[in-house]
């Protein structure tokens, strides 16, 4: 197993290197100037040129890439000029917020999605199935930012059950209950689409598995139906569900951008959008590499989980 993990980690290296090249090229190709973000409305061409010189943006492309890569390998992600802050500090701060949001959503969508899919499959064509199918369809059809806006309108402004935005109270907040209270709406809004996708997939995976001979065997043994469905069938269906969870993690991470904007969640998605708009090159590059590395690692973890679950996979 250790060998397998090592092998997977090694194979991730070229992917990550490729990502550094892509993000670097993209930022180099995007027109627009970081100096404008620094100078604001008072940016004159002369000042812009000076700042670009100060930021080292007048060096040749290839040299800039290797300088950046070299620095990054020594743990130096550079300083974000738009925030006057080391990139790594900002990325870690913001990523932990996103991790909380996306992680909760991911957990929600996994648990709810699988549960809905299993129930839906076990009660195929029954009322529960129809209800779940409809809810799921609604869930994957609603733009998450629209849902988020409506949730704010209803649950925060009108009913005042939850705070409108942010991760904690502006003053005196930050405790577990406070953060949890702030987390409810955005996590839910973010989880809706992914829950739908997971539920649909779980349902079809379960239907597939429930027809298998080993389910009949379990029933012939007299195993209780609950255990047949939630034990035998779900265990086998997970083999098909888990890889999709890996892909969904990416979608949840991307969808977080909208949710973070609507709910003012201080996460990395919003940071990257702002950074792209401000042409904060180092922040975008550092942030993307960090997020991509986490995504790649997560997918390796998914593969490892898969191989632990399914003894037939050679590791």
């Amino acid at each position: 197993m250790t060998g397998y993990i090592l092998k997977r980690l090694l194979s991730a290296v070229p992917v990550l290197l490729g990502i550094t090249v892509i993000v670097f090229l993209i930022m180099a190709l995007i027109p627009g100037d970081p100096a404008l973000a620094i100078l604001g409305a008072y940016a004159t061409p002369e000042n812009v040129a000076k700042i670009n010189r100060d930021l080292g943006l007048d060096a040749p492309l290839v040299a800039r890439y290797f300088i950046w890569l070299g620095n990054m390998l020594t743990g130096d992600f550079g300083t974000s000029f738009s925030l006057n802050r080391p990139v790594i500090d900002e990325v870690l701060d913001r990523f932990s917020a996103t991790l909380l949001l996306a992680g909760t959503s991911f957990l929600l969508c996994t648990l709810l999605g699988i549960a809905a899919g299993v129930i839906s499959a076990a009660k195929q064509y029954g009322w529960a199935d129809k209800g779940i199918t409809f809810a799921v369809l609604l869930g994957i059809s609603i733009p998450s930012f629209f849902l988020g806006m409506m949730m704010i309108l209803i649950f925060a402004v009108e009913l005042r059950w939850f705070p409108v935005s942010g991760m904690k109270m502006a003053y005196g907040g930050g405790g577990f209950a406070d953060v949890a209270n702030h987390l409810v709406m955005p996590a839910f809004a973010l989880a809706v689409v992914a829950t739908g996708v997971v539920a649909r997939l779980s349902r079809s995976a379960m239907l597939e598995v429930l027809r298998q001979d080993f389910i009949r065997t379990a029933r012939a043994k007299g195993v209780r139906e609950g255990r047949v469905v939630w034990g035998h069938a779900l265990r086998a269906a997970m083999v098909g569900i888990i890889p999709v969870l890996g892909i969904q993690a990416g979608f949840v991470l991307s969808g977080a951008v909208y949710i973070e904007m609507v709910f003012q969640w201080p996460g990395v998605g919003r940071m990257l959008v702002d950074a792209i708009l401000k042409r904060d090159i180092l922040l975008v590059q550092g942030g993307v590499v960090f997020v991509a590395a986490c995504y790649v690692l997560f997918n390796i973890a998914v593969d490892v989980a898969q191989s632990l679950l399914d003894p037939r996979i050679k590791t």
Binding site: A41, L83, P163, A170, V262
Partner: protein, 526 residues
């Protein structure tokens, strides 16, 4: 009727969500914020808390409460009064300013405020060989580009030597770029000073958590009397809609730049809407170099074609006034009262177009999605586009996010566009026309005259007004300039914004300043 229907829709939405919500409910009703703590909804995360390094009004709102300048604007006006300087003298030729400094003032970090500190501040910004010049860049340093030397006469006397008379100098000192930072703190934190600010102002910096809040505490030893509030929390809420929702839900106590459409929500007793006209002008830069707007008649036609009254009253819900010329009325002494705005007259516009021999001029219109002082740029741009189309223009809109927009507009519109939205908030009647209307302010010469307007007469008037030390003389020069510029129509003059803010009923003694600054020293929160 409208209200009734509105409630009906709202109830529909409510009903749809309530069932779902009941299942999830566990949160307590949003708690009121504690007394003595004022939570301010900001429009963005501050870039830095170093007054020399920032340009955005949003950042100024925090800075003005942490720092003092040598001078400041008298409450409710744009006239300067003493602050850290108790008095000053101006030499006959208008090139030497000598300030007598207030005694016994200390920075929040404990170091003393004195003439050396003043010199440090300006040298840091202006002298490339200053050891802390690299803590920049200082984009607004040009406000003080006329300063040749700052000299310490004695610990409480400092002298500024200008290379030429420069009338806006005092006014610029009152601007945030002139706020005095603690040299000790700059020496300690270097480039990181922007996150560890230390000034002499009514509030001391306590904490800055990225994208969450900036917290200031009261400075009990403030030289001008301790503030009423214990704590001020600035929360960045970039989305106007979310900001409004927070205000309605009681999550913030004070909100600036209320979106015009949301104003009606704050009509009840729970809120107070505060308004204040300021030195702001919202206009369209017209490309006078190439394309249809090279013709003066076409530029005037555009001014007649745009229904400015409809824009300010409907789109902006009365949060602005129609602009008559390039100088906002907030500069009362320099404003030309005789100037009447271009009336809305589509027929006249058509006639002018016909006269110029252009029946359907094709026009590319740069619109921004947001930005400092830009009000509601997409909606306004769209409405303007419709007005122009109505008289025969063929307008194509291109929208850009603010920084990109600046990158497109500031280098000049030539070859790219015929018109672009723009707005300026300034502290002196000199700034805007000097930077954006002179021939020497064309983009290639380092200015912001992106539409290439050029009138030697205007150039001369502006140069003259700048070096005059008599306010009366300056006033008449500016008034003359306004009349010429209005006639030449290098811009479409659209609106002067009345800045607004909403406070909850717990907030008292809050007022907005014409300077657009947010001064919180006297504010009480129950």
């Amino acid at each position: 009727m409208k209200q009734g229907m509105l409630n009906w829709t709202r109830r529909g939405v409510l009903a749809a969500g309530t069932a779902l919500g009941l299942a999830l409910s566990m949160g307590p009703a949003a708690a009121q914020t504690p007394p003595g703590v004022l939570i301010v909804g900001q429009i963005a995360e501050p870039k830095a808390l170093d007054p020399a390094a920032v340009t955005a009004v949003n950042d100024f709102r925090i800075l003005m409460n942490v720092y003092d300048g040598l001078v400041r604007y008298k409450s409710g006006t744009l006239e300067v009064e003493p602050a850290l300087a108790e008095s000053w003298e101006i030499s006959e030729d208008g090139t030497t300013y000598t300030f007598k400094l207030r005694e016994g003032v200390t920075f929040h970090d404990g170091s003393a405020f004195d003439a050396e500190a003043v010199k440090f501040n300006f040298d840091r910004m202006l002298k490339e060989d200053h050891p802390f010049h690299d803590t920049g860049p200082f984009p607004l340093a040009f406000f003080f580009s006329s300063v040749e030397e700052v000299t310490v006469i004695d610990p409480l006397t400092v002298e500024f030597q200008l290379n030429a008379p420069y009338a806006p100098f005092l006014s610029n000192l009152a601007y945030p770029t002139g706020l005095i930072v603690s040299p000790a703190a700059v020496e300690e934190y270097g480039a990181d000073y922007g996150r560890h600010p230390s000034g002499t102002g009514p509030f001391t910096f306590a904490e800055w958590e990225s994208n969450t809040h900036v917290i200031l505490n009261a400075n009990g030893d403030y030289w001008d009397g301790a503030p009423e509030l214990e704590t001020v929390v600035f929360r960045p809420i970039t989305d106007a809609n979310t900001r409004t929702a927070e205000m309605l839900a009681g999550g913030i106590d004070l909100m600036v730049e209320v979106p015009p459409v949301a104003l009606s929500e704050f009509e009840g007793d729970d809120f107070t809407v505060v308004e204040q006209a300021g030195p702001h002008v919202w206009f369209l830069i017209l490309n006078a170099k190439d394309g249809p707007f090279a013709e003066k008649a076409v530029r005037q036609a555009a001014n007649y074609a745009v229904n400015k009254t409809a824009l300010v009253e409907n789109v902006l819900e009365g949060t602005a006034e129609v602009a008559a010329g390039p100088t906002p009325p907030a500069f009362a002494w320099a404003y030309n009262e005789a100037l009447e705005p271009y009336p809305y007259d589509p027929e006249k516009a058509k006639a002018l177009l016909a006269e110029a021999g252009m029946e359907a001029p094709e026009v590319t219109f740069f619109v921004t999605e947001g930005g400092s002082g830009m009000l509601d740029p997409v909606a306004m741009g769209t409405a303007i586009q419709a007005d122009l189309e109505a008289v025969g223009f063929d307008v194509t809109i291109e929208t850009y996010e603010w920084n990109t927009f600046l990158g497109e507009v500031n280098p000049g519109l030539e070859g790219k566009a015929d018109m672009a939205e723009m707005a300026w908030m300034t502290n002196d009647p000199d700034t805007l026309p000097y930077l954006a209307l002179r021939t020497d302010a064309w983009p290639d010469k380092g200015g912001f005259n992106s539409g290439y307007y050029s009138n030697p007469e205007v150039d001369e008037l502006l140069e003259k007004a700048r070096v005059s030390t008599s306010q009366d003389e300056r006033a008449s020069l500016y008034q003359e300039m306004q009349a010429i510029v209005q006639e030449d129509a290098p811009w479409v003059f659209v609106a002067n914004w009345k800045q607004n803010a909403v406070t909850s009923s717990a907030v008292e003694d809050f007022a907005l300043e014409p300077s657009f600054f947010l001064l919180l020293r006297d504010v009480v929160k129950n």
